[in-house]
Symmetry: C2
Subunit: 310 residues, 2 copies
């Protein structure tokens, strides 16, 4: 029932067309480290920064998505779609994302260059893990780390599948043998309802622009809805980490409810548990967020505006 990401991979229904892609002439990324890590630089654009003068978590996730897709494209591990290598394709199997965890140390600002490294690894016997390391392109400082888990689904039966042996043969050479870059937050995300929530926002509807090729809501857009019910938090805190569990796809006619429960961590900083669900009660995304106080900038406002280099 992890359908949320299926649409991403439908974009990938093509083969690499440029043999010069490995030298990265256009900032489209390249393979490094014995062919197992894909690396791409991004220049942060003015429209990727928000109220605080820094990039949003959504921009970070957009860059993660872009590198994952370009990685798949570049290594040529595509049959008729990313979720389908040759062998997967024959069996109607695709990859869908089940879980995503991101920790952010610092948000970059307009004109900064960030360098994103990504790689894949086995996750148990039948799953895949994809990790990302985001660094400042000049200093090498770690800006963010992220780890995601993927499962295989049969598009005919809509059921999860084990990894067939012939698929394993195709994919395993691309797997790194290393621990996750983000230690898994093993705590089970609790099920929220209105009685256990501190904030409830009703009637959230997709905008046209939230939809992707298949008229599904893009994975990244869910974050906006989750944060909608924490908007008072956003004014005085910045997001330090987010964990998302994707449970069900959302389509353009769906109406969502966003629920948030707030508690405090050991430092007294806010921690939230989130739920996005449909009118019917069906869960779309469970999530948790960690927050830290914003630094006060020179202008005395709530924003955190890095001034180095300006």
């Amino acid at each position: 029932m992890f359908l949320a990401a299926e649409k991403q991979w439908t974009l990938l229904d093509w083969k690499p067309r440029r043999s010069d892609m490995l030298v990265d002439p256009f900032g489209l990324g390249k393979i490094v480290q014995d062919g197992l890590v894909f690396q791409q630089n991004f220049s942060i654009r003015s429209y990727e920064i928000g109220v605080d003068g820094t990039t949003s978590i959504e921009s970070f996730m957009n860059h993660l998505q872009e590198t994952a897709l370009n990685h798949a494209k570049t290594v040529g591990l595509l049959g008729d779609g990313f979720g389908s290598t040759e062998a997967m394709s024959k069996r109607n199997l695709i990859w869908v994302v089940a879980r995503m965890q991101i920790l952010v140390n610092r948000y970059p600002t307009w004109g900064d260059t960030v360098q994103v490294d990504t790689w894949v690894a086995a996750n148990g016997k039948n799953g895949m893990r994809r990790d990302w390391l985001v660094r400042d392109g000049n200093s090498g400082e770690t800006l963010a780390r992220a780890s995601s888990k993927w499962v295989m689904m049969n598009t005919s039966t809509r059921k999860l599948s084990k990894m067939p042996d012939d698929v394993r043969v195709e994919i395993e050479p691309y797997f790194m043998d290393c621990a996750p870059i983000v230690e898994e937050d093993g705590r089970k995300l609790p099920k929220l309802d209105e009685s256990t929530s501190d904030y409830v926002r009703n009637g959230l509807t997709p905008r046209w622009n939230d939809l992707d090729l298949n008229q599904h809501v893009n994975n990244v857009k869910y974050i906006g809805w989750i944060l909608e019910s924490s908007i008072s938090m956003l004014e005085n805190h910045e997001l330090a980490g987010i964990t998302l569990e994707y449970r069900k796809e959302c389509r353009k006619d769906n109406v969502l409810q966003s629920l948030t429960a707030v508690s405090k961590d050991a430092k007294g900083w806010p921690e939230c548990v989130h739920l996005l669900r449909l009118d019917s009660g069906a869960e779309v995304v469970r999530g948790s967020t960690m927050w830290r106080p914003k630094r006060i900038n020179n202008f005395g406002s709530v924003g955190r505006i890095p001034t180095d280099g300006m």
Copy 2:
């Protein structure tokens, strides 16, 4: 009363820091044509494409905004902000956008490179025009053309200002002497109300992510709201052109109403007139849009998915 763009320029409170910027090593753009045209390439990213498999008009506008800001940054025409050259700054003057017109021939898709040229020109005695030409990076085919008009505002009095002579001396060397790249649609945009509208969408509220550094709604985000009241149009047509007149800024606590009136042009294709206004009735943006039928793709769906190169 043209406040909508003021916030953009507050981002520009700094001086160029890289002497190597003219050679464009990181795709940040460069000056061409005797120093009067700024040129930047963009690789279209996966998250910039939508339901139809192509970029949205918002992505186009984001690229226009980015090149305008990078142009200003690169030529060093900055005092304490773009809207303020040295002389403007002393007089508390900034540039604000009053009107924007975009014509789109073809929307690019993921992995395409687009080349954006931009330049400025005089507009009457006291105003500035900024034009853009967007081309396919490989074929040179014109993808879009855009023209915008800017006026000078005094930030103390909040009133429009004539261009002082010392400001003119600073700015005029950067003005191209050429006709607008988009012939102006001289028709006055009519004032809509509920009785003259075909579609009305109420209760539109900014999301946190729609806000910029000054907690104003970003110019580009208005388009989403305008298209919200034309969503049935979006399913079968693609936007061929849009004209926006910015009248008033929108802040995070504002609630907007989006009004649309539909008619047909000589070919029988839809033309719309739009109004975004506040609860109070105050007009935020007037606009008009031109549409053309979507081509049917191979899958028989409504989307228009270019398949060349895939």
